[in-house]
């Protein structure tokens, strides 16, 4: 659980989905994932399959500097996958799909909070410990702790804590059209995710930012962890068109 796959299954999946037009690997920026996907891509190229890789790194909780492994790829990856997927579906070539995935990644920012840790089954213990009245700000998506531990506070204040670094980072500005994505970590009910969404939408509206599209639910989870992440994607016309395109997957279903 949470361990990156070895190159063998990545290669098998790459071979299975290749239709002759090449394969795009969308890899969340975690050291193990990047290393194993690099090896798998080399093996796939050796099998004659063209591979392009896009590494997502939307998490603003992590400082992007020479002194870290770089920002993590977190929930914003779902938006990259959907939009790049629609690009492939309409018949774009590999370079175009990879360019769109890169563009979406460059325009999305995310940050998360945990109210409880998760228990990885084979370890049998919580991945970190929090007192009843503590929350963890800036968590990743594999049960790893965040950057800061604070005392519990009202939901709207927690939303401000997540949204401010997101908006400052890109930065987002008045007049922008965005997709607002509130993602549950697995153990938080949908009704509470909408409490997060409500205030996030209010803050964006007050900043003159138009919530053109939205997504709320449990998509990029850490087992039974209670918590949520907020992702904001700055949209352009092509991204809206590709987001709206019909999709039939386990997680996302709309259109025909």
């Amino acid at each position: 659980m949470f361990t990156s796959p070895t190159p063998d299954p990545i290669l098998a999946a790459t071979i299975a989905v290749d239709s002759g037009a090449g394969v795009l690997h969308i890899v969340k920026n975690y050291t193990g994932d990047v290393l194993n996907f690099e090896t798998a891509a080399e093996l796939a190229e050796a099998e004659g399959i063209q591979v392009r890789s896009v590494v997502t790194d939307d998490d603003v909780a992590v400082k992007d500097s020479l002194y870290t492994a770089g920002r993590r790829g977190v929930a914003g990856t779902v938006l990259v996958e959907k939009i790049a997927g629609a690009s492939a579906q309409r018949g774009d070539d590999l370079e175009t799909v990879a360019a769109i995935a890169t563009r979406v990644n460059s325009q999305v920012r995310s940050m998360g909070v945990a109210l409880t840790p998760c228990v990885v089954p084979h370890a049998g213990e919580p991945s970190f410990t929090l007192a009843e009245d503590e929350i963890e700000i800036g968590i990743g998506i594999h049960g790893e702790p965040g950057r800061e531990r604070i005392l519990l506070e009202p939901a709207d204040q927690i939303v401000d804590r997540l949204l401010t670094p997101i908006l400052d980072d890109l930065p987002f500005a008045s007049g922008d059209r965005v997709l607002l994505f509130v993602n549950g970590m697995g153990g938080t009910p949908l009704v509470e995710l909408y409490i997060v969404f409500r205030h996030a939408a209010e803050v964006l509206k007050a900043a003159g930012i138009d919530v053109t599209r939205s997504l709320v639910g449990n998509f990029v989870t850490s087992l039974e962890m209670q918590g949520a992440s907020i992702s904001v994607l700055k949209l352009d016309d092509e991204m809206v068109e590709l987001w709206d395109a019909p999709v039939q997957t386990a997680a996302l279903r709309w259109g025909r």
């Binding site: 361990t3 990156s4 796959p5 070895t6 190159p7 193990g32 492994a69 990885v120 084979h122 370890a123």
Partner: protein
């Protein structure tokens, strides 16, 4: 005394033993500053290696054994440790390819190639709080022991001691690579799990060489 296939086989089997014995320790260290799977992953990998080593041909040389470790770890461990250790053993195998008996110089080139392979894949430097903080002092200590004219078991013992010192030095460091780098100052006071597994593997190499001599 030089070290041949019997030493290589014994090293690998001892490695599998000590990784299994320390599985919980490695996982606990990793849970503190990583994602809590290092012991589990390494044990799965070395359990697979143990099964493969029995199938080595009678005329196999140490490099053949190391290559089996490499390919097995790459395809079974996952995480960052799989590609990193896999590359280490692959480069180590290449450094001593075809040699039936390894003398002190061969052991130093084996260790150097392993360390260089990890650096090539993971791009870490000494001080980044990674397994390189154990590997580089190990390589340096082995090279110094060789220059002093020490025996093969003594060279491996020096490498293990160097790795142990380097691993201890990671306690005080902020991580610059891997998942612990996300924690900033919060990683200080914790030992890097990859450096601890490195110590276990190099200590196993030294112990089986000492047992044989």
């Amino acid at each position: 005394m030089s070290l041949g296939i019997d030493w290589a086989r014994a090293w690998i089997l001892r490695s599998a033993d000590v990784i299994a014995e320390n599985r919980t320790t490695l996982t606990t260290l990793d849970r503190e500053i990583g994602d809590g799977d290092h012991g589990e992953n390494m044990d799965r990998g070395f359990a697979a290696v143990r099964a493969k080593v029995d199938g080595l041909a009678d005329d196999a040389v140490p490099g053949d054994a190391l290559k089996i470790v490499a390919t097995t770890l790459i395809s079974t461990v996952g995480g960052a440790a799989g590609p990193l250790y896999g590359t280490a053993y692959l480069k180590a195998a290449g450094a001593v390819a075809g040699q039936t008996e390894l003398d002190g110089a061969a052991l130093v080139s084996l260790l150097t190639a392993a360390r260089d392979g990890i650096v090539l894949r993971g791009k870490a430097e000494v001080g980044d709080k990674t397994m390189i903080d154990a590997w580089t002092p190990a390589v340096d200590a082995a090279a110094a022991a060789l220059a002093e004219g020490r025996s093969e078991p003594e060279i491996l013992a020096a490498a293990a001691e160097g790795a142990a010192r380097g691993s201890e030095s990671t306690d005080a460091l902020v991580a610059h690579k891997g998942r612990a780098s996300y924690l900033g100052e919060r990683a200080v006071g914790h030992r890097d799990p990859g450096s601890v597994s490195t110590v276990l593997l190099l200590q196993a190499a030294a112990d089986v060489a000492a047992d044989a001599s």
